[in-house]
């Protein structure tokens, strides 16, 4: 830039230089003579050096003119007498041109070098700037991240839904989050250090010392085993005076620790409530059990009384009507015998009802035994009993051998007796009666079946079948009291089994029952 500005000055100086040289050579001509070009070679050299190529050429031309005029003889004339002089002019002009040309090349090279240098410098600078910029951006980013992370951490700490306290090792500095403040009411100002916390949270000195002991032990243990601070429940007094049960646990962070606080007051209260409810419940269960026991005993006593006291009057009715018939039969006429017969009949029926009720009630009371039983044997005994009673009846029996079961012997005898008696009873009008006792697999369960080909019944009434005192036949068709199947069902249910019937009027009936395995109920579908 500076060079460019000074350029006209340099050009002017370059053009002035031949004149100055001419003046100097003129002044000291006696010294330089006869070397007319002596000072002009350097002049042209310098002119082209400082003025550039054009200035150098012009200076060469001016120098040639000046030398020809002033110094080449004849002096002060442009005449060239000697061809030798003409050559020297030509040589000078060539030299001048060469100087100018060389200088120009030199100059250009110089300029290019300096331009390149400048470019390198600029590039270097830019690179430097860029690097610094990038470093600064990185630095900024790191700082931003740090700030954000710090903010996040602070937010996390402050807004976490669990109360925290961060305590540095020296206990001199403690920090509490918002939930902590909300839970306990104490602020950072209330408790700048951990030492402020203890007397506030545990105003009772004795309790406090216990807490301190247990807490310090827990922290020491956690630090030693590098594990969490074992959680403990403490009763903490809040700023408003309420006492809350808090489960305190924490982690050690190097020499510091972070304590967490869980409010278990409600849980404790609920637990206490549950405990009390349980206690109440237990008491109520005890009361109910006692009541039930009393009711059972009452029922027992009732059944006992029924068996004794209800029978006596019946026996009297039966007995005296019989005695009347025996002792005064001759004096009684016509209808009187029928009436006496009816009394006897009614009292007998009543007796059967009482016995049925007693059996039913007995089957629902008392312990249920589970002994291995031979049902084939049982069915055979019932069969023999019936055959003995009515030896004239012709009836085919099919009793499967080897039927075993687990259950209460006395109760299952009632079951077998009732089912087989029924089969016996309802086949009384069948031409070739058949009673089958067998087992079969149904839905994976073992079913015991008692089947007959007797009167059967309408399945539409089957839901009444197992209800006490419900009968599907008239007394004059098939006598009965309607308590047998009710008893049977109750016994089967007590064993955890199911019973169902399948029948068709005039075709017979099948009764199937299962015996639950140790009380587990299994379903039979008919």
């Amino acid at each position: 830039m500076e060079e460019d500005r000074n350029r006209p000055l340099y050009v002017a100086l370059a053009l002035l230089l031949p004149f100055i040289t001419c003046w100097v050579q003129w002044q000291f001509w006696s010294i330089f003579t006869p070397f007319v070009w002596f000072l002009f070679f350097p002049t042209v050299f310098f002119s082209s050096r400082i003025g550039g190529k054009s200035a150098g050429l012009v200076s060469t031309a001016i120098s040639a003119v000046l030398v020809v005029y002033f110094f080449i003889p004849p002096q002060l004339s442009f005449a060239l007498k000697n061809p030798h002089n003409l050559y020297s002019v030509v040589v000078f002009l060539i030299m001048g041109y060469l100087f100018s040309y060389t200088h120009d090349r030199l100059e250009r090279a110089n300029r290019r070098a300096s331009e390149a240098h400048a470019a390198v410098r600029i590039a270097k600078e830019q690179l430097q700037e860029e690097r610094i910029g990038r470093l600064q951006t990185e630095q900024q980013q790191i700082t931003d991240n740090l700030v954000r992370s710090e903010e996040r951490f602070r937010k996390l700490f402050n807004k976490a839904p669990i109360p925290f306290a961060y305590v540095s090792n020296d206990s001199m500095h403690a920090d509490y989050n918002e939930r902590f403040v909300r839970m306990f009411g104490y602020t950072r100002e209330d408790m700048p250090t951990l030492d402020h916390w203890w007397p506030l949270a545990y105003p009772d000195a004795e309790y406090r010392s216990g807490v301190l002991e247990s807490w310090n032990a827990a922290v020491k243990k956690a630090a030693a085993t590098e594990s969490d601070v074992e959680p403990f429940e403490y009763n903490i007094t809040c700023k408003d005076g309420t006492v809350r049960t808090i489960l305190i646990s924490g982690i050690t962070l190097g020499d510091d620790f972070l304590a967490t606080f869980f409010d278990v007051t409600e849980r404790k209260r609920a637990e206490e409530e549950i405990r009390q409810l349980n206690a109440g419940l237990e008491q109520r269960v005890e009361e109910r059990t006692a009541e039930l026991l009393a009711a059972n005993q009452e029922l027992d006593a009732f059944a006992y009384a029924v068996s004794h006291d209800l029978r006596a009057p019946l026996r009297a009715m039966n007995g005296f009507s019989q005695a009347l018939k025996e002792d005064f039969g001759e004096q009684l006429h016509g209808e009187a015998h029928v009436y006496l017969e009816q009394i006897t009949h009614a009292s007998r029926h009543m007796g059967q009802l009482i016995d049925g009720l007693l059996t039913l009630s007995r089957c629902t009371r008392g312990e249920l035994l589970r002994d291995p039983l031979d049902l084939t044997l049982m069915a055979g005994q019932v069969r023999d009993e019936l055959v003995r009673q009515e030896p004239d009846r012709l009836l085919a029996w099919q009793v499967e051998p080897g039927m075993t079961a687990k259950g209460d012997a006395r109760m299952l005898e009632v079951v077998m007796r009732n089912l087989i008696w029924n089969a016996w009873k309802y086949t009384s009008g069948t031409p070739s009666p058949l009673i089958r006792v067998y087992t079969e697999e149904r839905n994976g369960a073992r079913c015991y079946c008692v089947a007959d080909n007797g009167a059967g019944f309408d399945m539409g009434h089957s839901q009444r079948l197992f209800k006490p005192f419900q009968r599907l036949h008239r007394q004059d068709e098939f006598p009965g009291i309607g308590i047998g199947l009710a008893t049977v069902q109750r016994i089967i249910h007590r064993h955890g089994g199911e019973i169902c019937a399948e029948a068709e009027p005039g075709k017979g009936a099948i009764f199937r029952f299962t015996l639950g395995e140790s009380g587990v109920s299994s379903k039979v579908e008919g």
Partner: protein, 146 residues
């Protein structure tokens, strides 16, 4: 000592008493029956205490027909007392009751009843049962003390 055999009937129900007596009458045993109506009376009769301290007749009956459900002292308690006393330890006692409860039956035998008979509801059966009891214990059975 006069060795006329007798039956002691312990029965609080007058109708049952009548029916028992009627049944025994059929086998000509009615006039050898003494009747008491509760457990205490039975004990007094057998041990000749209280109202029976001066009773005449045989020292001990050939058999006691004992109901379980009795006023004052129950039948089973009477039996226990009899078995606890050397004088009546071996006295034949037949429980004659309406009950067919197993526990009554077992308990009776446990404490030393010689027989357990449930009063049948049907009078014909009842009469038969009582008559055979009377005949068996009075005529067939040989008592411990002849």
């Amino acid at each position: 000592m006069n060795e006329v055999k007798s039956i002691l009937l312990v029965e609080d129900n007058p109708q049952d008493e009548m029916l028992v007596l009627r049944s025994l009458r059929k086998v000509n045993l009615a006039n050898q029956v003494d009747v008491v109506r509760d457990g205490q009376q039975a004990l007094d009769y057998l041990f000749r205490e209280g109202e029976f301290s001066g009773r005449s007749g045989s020292e001990y009956p050939a058999v006691v027909l004992l109901d379980i459900n009795l006023p004052r002292v129950s039948g089973l308690e009477v039996l226990e007392r009899l078995r606890g006393d050397t004088r009546t330890r071996l006295l034949p006692v037949v429980i004659l009751t309406s009950s067919d409860e197993e526990r009554d039956r077992l308990k009776s035998y446990e404490i030393g009843a010689n027989s357990f008979v449930r009063k049948p509801l049907d009078f014909t059966e009842f009469a038969e049962a009582v008559a055979s009891l009377g005949v068996y214990w009075m005529a067939i059975n040989i008592p411990p003390k002849g």
